[in-house]
């Protein structure tokens, strides 16, 4: 049989790091020994034979040492739940990388404002770590990260490292803090962090990823800050089955254009999809 894009490559789970109750970090290596060769922001289709496939963003930076890559997966359904039950050394299938990544080259030399809500940190982390590894290629780097509760914060240890760096600015917040939990940081939704930050209007790009509801409010705040639409980059999640621009599920439309999120996205320039009823 000839090559088919539907055939996943064999891959091995090297390491499993539970992060929260629902999220786990998987370090994965292709069995053929190749690197994945991805751009920050791209995703793979993770295949569990007999259960199905799920699109998952690559959470590690291509600049990471070694051939492996990392996925941060939230258990929400069939594939993701079964993934959570696997052990180190188990096999899965990987297709990809797919989609457009973040416009890394376009952002070189610019200020970058990362805004991550919840699991949105997973795709952003691949870019954040890229930027940190190549710190001199970017101007100011600011990271805003919000979750619903302290126990949901991901990559805690790594973030401790970010906090200590003085060449970036890191701010975090939680929507609420249950009684008895120790939390010294900010309380309030992520949009409450935005008014307080300084933005160089000429030079700043905002890169956003979070749950659908978050976009609306963050975009309103950024609008107040007068960041032009063209300099807002966001990553969308849609139902997708093939990752190849065929199955039709991930299409989003506005009156002027339409996109296949799996191929034309998941990363979009806000100016291109602004006003799309189906996008945001």
């Amino acid at each position: 049989m000839n090559k088919t894009p539907y055939l996943p490559e064999d891959a091995t789970i090297l390491k499993i790091t539970p992060m929260t109750e629902r999220e786990t970090l998987f370090e994965i290596e292709l069995e053929n020994g190749n690197t994945l060769g991805h751009q920050p922001g791209q995703f793979v289709e993770v295949s569990v034979p007999g259960v199905g496939e799920a699109p998952i963003s690559i959470s590690s930076s291509p600049t990471k040492d070694g051939n492996s890559f990392e996925l941060c997966v939230r258990a929400v359904g069939n594939v993701t739940n079964i993934l959570h039950g696997l052990k180190e050394g188990d096999n899965i299938g990987i297709r990809g990388p797919y989609g457009t990544g973040f416009p890394v080259d376009e952002l070189k030399g610019k200020d970058v404002l990362f805004i991550a809500g919840g699991l949105g940190i997973a795709p952003l982390r691949s870019f954040i770590n890229y930027a940190l590894d190549k710190r001199d290629e970017f101007a100011n780097v600011k990271i805003l990260y919000g979750c619903r509760e302290p126990c949901e914060l991901l990559y805690e240890e790594e973030i401790d490292g970010w906090k200590e760096r003085d060449d970036i600015e890191y701010l975090e917040t939680v929507d609420r803090c249950p009684e008895g939990v120790c939390w010294e940081g900010n309380i309030g939704v992520i949009t409450t962090l935005i008014p307080g930050i300084d933005i160089d209007l000429e030079n700043t790009y905002a890169v956003i990823c979070g749950p659908p509801i978050m976009y609306k409010f963050v975009l309103m705040e950024l609008d107040k800050k007068n960041i032009p639409d063209e300099r807002i980059i966001l990553s969308l999640e849609r139902h997708m089955k093939c990752g190849l621009g065929k199955c039709g599920h991930c299409q989003i439309n506005g009156s002027n254009a339409e996109y296949y999120v799996c191929q034309d996205g998941p990363v979009f320039n806000y100016a291109d999809i602004k006003g799309f009823e189906e996008a945001l």
Binding site: G77, N78, N81, I82
Partner: protein
């Protein structure tokens, strides 16, 4: 996929025709595969042994009296997972046609007007699906159930995933099978509001969808009632179309 556990399973029946349990016997050679996957500890229809120690309970039939209610509560206590199988258990089945009839008349029609019934036969005014009495985790729809779907559910439960039960109407499968639509043959059909998963088996055989898998989660009932009237049914007949299998569901949804 690997099997996590070899669960103990038990089969129970309330008021029904046992056609669903028959589908399990009808698995023929695949029964042997099934027996590798699960341990059957109770199945009155085929085995003498019985045990109250089970993980998954499959229940066929409707609850129609206090005795059934007691049994169901007992089953719920014992089982981790309760699966209702077949229309009688999932939506009340044809049993619930009588829910709209006068209960006294119902008794008279069957036993005559001077019948004095022994306690055993005292029945609720309404036949109820299992989930009207206890919590049900999964439903295998159909009258009778589809064998492949049954296997799919068992297999899913064993590997620990949620079975794939369609929530789109029968018309989908009917079209995939390239049937001549009932409405183009001067027949009526409730396929547009009925849950698929049967592969439109009745239409494939030249009849129509009767609705045995119950309403989909979000049916456009008003539209279908309107359409049925346009095709010449009286409002009364339209109601009857819906009463064949949907009586309980409709009542339950109205009360929501």
């Amino acid at each position: 996929m690997k099997q996590k556990i070899k669960p103990k399973v038990a089969f129970f029946d309330l008021a029904g025709c046992e056609g669903d349990q028959l589908q399990i016997a009808n698995l023929e050679e695949k029964i042997l595969d099934l027996l590798n996957l699960v341990e059957v500890v109770s199945f009155r229809e085929v085995m003498k042994e019985h045990s109250d120690d089970y993980d998954i309970a499959f229940i066929e039939g409707s609850a129609t009296n206090d005795h059934a209610e007691e049994r169901l509560k007992e089953i719920r206590k014992n089982a981790d997972i309760v699966v209702a199988i077949g229309a009688c258990a999932t939506i009340g089945g044809v049993n619930s046609i009588r829910n709209k009839q006068n209960h006294e008349e119902v008794g008279e029609r069957v036993y005559g007007d001077n019948a004095e019934l022994s306690e055993l036969y005292i029945s609720w005014e309404k036949a109820k699906p299992v989930d009207a009495v206890i919590k049900v985790d999964y439903k295998i729809h159909g009258c009778p159930i589809d064998r492949d779907e049954f296997l799919h559910v068992v297999e899913s439960l064993v590997v620990g995933r949620v079975p794939n039960i369609p929530d789109y109407p029968v018309c989908v499968e009917c079209k995939l099978n390239e049937n001549v639509c009932a409405f183009e043959r001067e027949e009526f059909c409730v396929g547009p509001v009925t849950r698929a998963g049967c592969d439109a088996c009745c239409v494939n055989e030249g009849t129509r969808c009767w609705g045995c898998r119950g309403l989909i989660d979000n049916p456009n009932e008003e539209a279908h009632m309107e359409v049925l009237e346009e095709y010449g049914l009286t409002p009364e007949d339209v109601m009857k179309e819906f009463d064949l299998y949907f009586t309980w569901q409709k009542e339950a949804r109205e009360n929501e």
